[in-house]
Amino acid sequence: MAPKSSVSTISSRVVPFWRDVRVIRILSQVAFAILVAAVAGLLYSNMKRGLETRGLSGGFDFLRLEAGFQIGEGIAYDPSDSYARAFLVGIVNTLRVTIVGIILATILGVVMGVARLSTNWLVNKIAAVYVELIRNTPLLVQLFVWYFAIILKLPRVKESIVLPGSIFISNRGMALPWPVPTASFRPWSYWLAAAAAVAVGLGIVCARGERRRGRPPFSRLWIGAAFVILPFLGWFLTPGGSPLLLNKPALQGWNYQGGLTLTPEFTALLLGLVVYTGAFIAEVVRAGIQAVPRGQIEAARAMGLTEGQTLRLVIFPQALRVIIPPLTSQYLNLAKNSSLAIAIGFPDLFNVAGTIFNQTGQAVQVIALIMASYLSMSLFTSLLMNLYNRRIQLVER
């Protein structure tokens, strides 16, 4: 198949450009880029034509229309608000469960990861059973168990479990007392801001002193004290009575009114995500700790550090470098897994968006919005974690 003549006529010195390795490399990459663009273009035009033949208009104008459906929980919203507002409610609900979930899952994961390495037989085995059981069953099944088998089987509202401090637990959720801001909250918030500023200032002074003299100029407890004492003083000095009032829940009609109610859907989703992701984080933490050379621990013991000090000062700083990258992907998983909320009726982004696309029929646009939302959430998380990762990386000399 190959033409023979072209090979023989070429001089051995001058390599024609199409035989030049460097050119071929560049050209083949350009070619590949064009191929990808062409395929993407083809898919896009196909989609567009498909939408046109079905009479589905493009564009995002529908977001301004009245949503007309109710959303179970979240920031202020009324069925007469727009689809865009409804979508925002979904996003905030997703963020709420994701952020709280990440914090709790990290705590649970670190505790369980350390426990798995414990020399105490019972602690060690409990952690092992937890990790193996949770890690090896599907999250959706776990969510159903949490929601339908555990939370909905709690007593009914009228037979709520009453805990000291006006906490009521029933299958309608957990009602807790919750502070409600009063008219004097605004002046008091300046005290809070001042306290935060003082605490930050003290922190900087403290860190600078430590860098210079190797020892903080005053105990770090002062920073915490400043943050507590100032608002405390402000509480009494602000005119117009106490800035926050504790609102206690009380049974009125069908449900508890007042205070803060954690809905069963939110609680089940949060528990499901925390327990599930915690198991993975536990393994990440265990691997990170085990990656610290044995000699480091022995050296720490030889220097007379206590167990706690060894963990805090020697093991963790080194383990973190191994832990952070896989931990980041666990955080991302948690955020994305929160879309399973629809199975247990929590109005997260995916759930609300599902209703929107069903009412408007604008599936492509809504799905694009869903993807863009999760993507920006994930990229932002990645960015933060990568910044943190860079800070704690070993500085090589």
Binding site: N255, I342, T360
Partner: protein, 374 residues
């Protein structure tokens, strides 16, 4: 080296073809022919493929279905009486029988249908993308679904309304009694919006929980997560039979909305929509004439010109639809008329025992009025 070079040139040509699309392609090809022969051979194939991709998809669903040899029908699998997956793997229900009727009209065989169970949320996308040929899944006909969602509806097969089911022990008699209560709903239904509308109209504050499927709604209601659940009244009647103690629950007399349920096809294929529509009209007409699956053979060769046209003894009404002239005969013979289908699935002999109500023939005070076969 040489090998990769030719692959590279081949690839380039392919890319240029794809990127430039059909019209520009031949010129580019000619230039490349000087370089190598391999390309020359590849070209015709590639060009035709590009053209094929560019052509608009054929809209004739009826031809597609005939060629495939069976109908794909989007249905419910969790609503006893309408669309339900039986323990033995077969489907049963009122909507399901209409799927069978359409298959009978096309193939003279009611078994030539594949059922695709769909959730309320999935159903429109499944129809829009052509995954199902027809959607018969207790779907309400609304203006926005007809326009922006891109559906075309066939005549209503079941006139329904949205209802609310509550526990007897709670002594609820009207919507007002549900003030501050919690109501369970399925996602992606008109139900969700009707409820919000009604409550807004009456200024009633309420909480609600939205689930993806009926099963979850019913499970949450049974566990008393909700004080009430709402769906179409026929759906409530049907789901009540699956509750642990059906007699402990009542459906409120209030009807929240009009819910005309019927088959839907994708917008823009009139022929296919006509087929589905006239199968339904045929079944209603047959009931008017008293033609049933048992006596349909006696009506063949009847003197009545209307019946002759309906059963295909006279005229070419079926052929005009792209079907066999005897398509109504096949439907009645294999599946039965509207009344038979209703009684078999929802009537007095069943656990649902739903009154014909609005779904009686117009001659008997209902809304069913079939367009004449002329």
């Amino acid at each position: 080296m040489k090998h990769s070079y030719y692959t590279f040139v081949g690839l380039m040509v392919l890319i240029v073809l794809l990127a430039a699309c059909a019209p520009a392609a031949p010129q580019v090809v000619e230039k490349q022919v000087e370089v190598t022969r391999i390309v020359e051979k590849e070209v015709p194939v590639e060009v035709t493929r590009v053209v094929e991709v560019a052509a608009p998809p054929a809209a004739a669903k009826l031809e597609t279905v005939k060629k495939r040899g069976y109908l794909i029908c989007g249905c419910n699998n969790a609503l006893p009486g309408f669309g339900y997956l039986e323990p033995d793997g077969s489907y049963s229900g009122f909507d399901v029988e209409f799927c069978r009727a359409i298959a009978a009209a096309i193939f003279n065989d009611p078994t030539k249908v594949e059922f695709r169970p769909l959730t309320a949320k999935e159903r429109f996308t499944a129809l829009q993308t052509g995954e199902v040929d027809v959607l018969i899944r207790n779907t309400t006909w609304t203006l926005s679904r007809d326009t922006s969602v891109g559906l075309d509806f066939a005549p209503t097969t079941f006139y329904d309304g949205q209802g609310i089911m509550v526990r007897k022990a709670d002594n609820i008699t009207s919507l007002e009694d549900l003030r501050g209560g919690t109501i369970c709903v399925t996602a992606g239904t008109t139900t969700e919006m009707n409820l919000a509308d009604q409550m807004r109209k009456r200024g009633i504050e309420y909480n609600h929980v939205v689930f993806e499927t009926y099963d979850e709604v019913v499970a949450a209601y049974e566990d008393e997560r909700c004080d009430a659940m709402t769906m179409d009244r026929s759906g409530l009647a049907s789901r009540r039979t699956t509750l642990a103690k059906p007699e402990d629950h009542v459906i409120l007399p209030e009807v929240l909305s009009k819910e005309p349920l019927g088959p839907a096809t994708m917008h823009g294929d009139n022929q296919w929509n006509d087929v589905v529509s006239w199968v339904v009209y045929g079944m209603i007409n047959a009931e008017e004439f008293g033609i049933t699956s048992a006596n349909v053979d006696d009506f063949l060769g009847s003197e009545d010109p209307e019946i002759r046209r309906l059963l295909g003894d006279e005229g070419d009404l079926g052929v005009g639809l792209g079907l066999d002239n005897r398509f109504v005969y096949y439907v009645i013979k294999h599946v039965g008329n509207y009344g038979e289908v209703y009684d078999r699935n929802l009537g007095p002999g069943t656990v649902f025992n739903l009154d014909r109500g609005l779904n009686a023939l117009w001659t008997k005070g209902g809304l069913l009025y079939a367009i004449p076969f002329r």
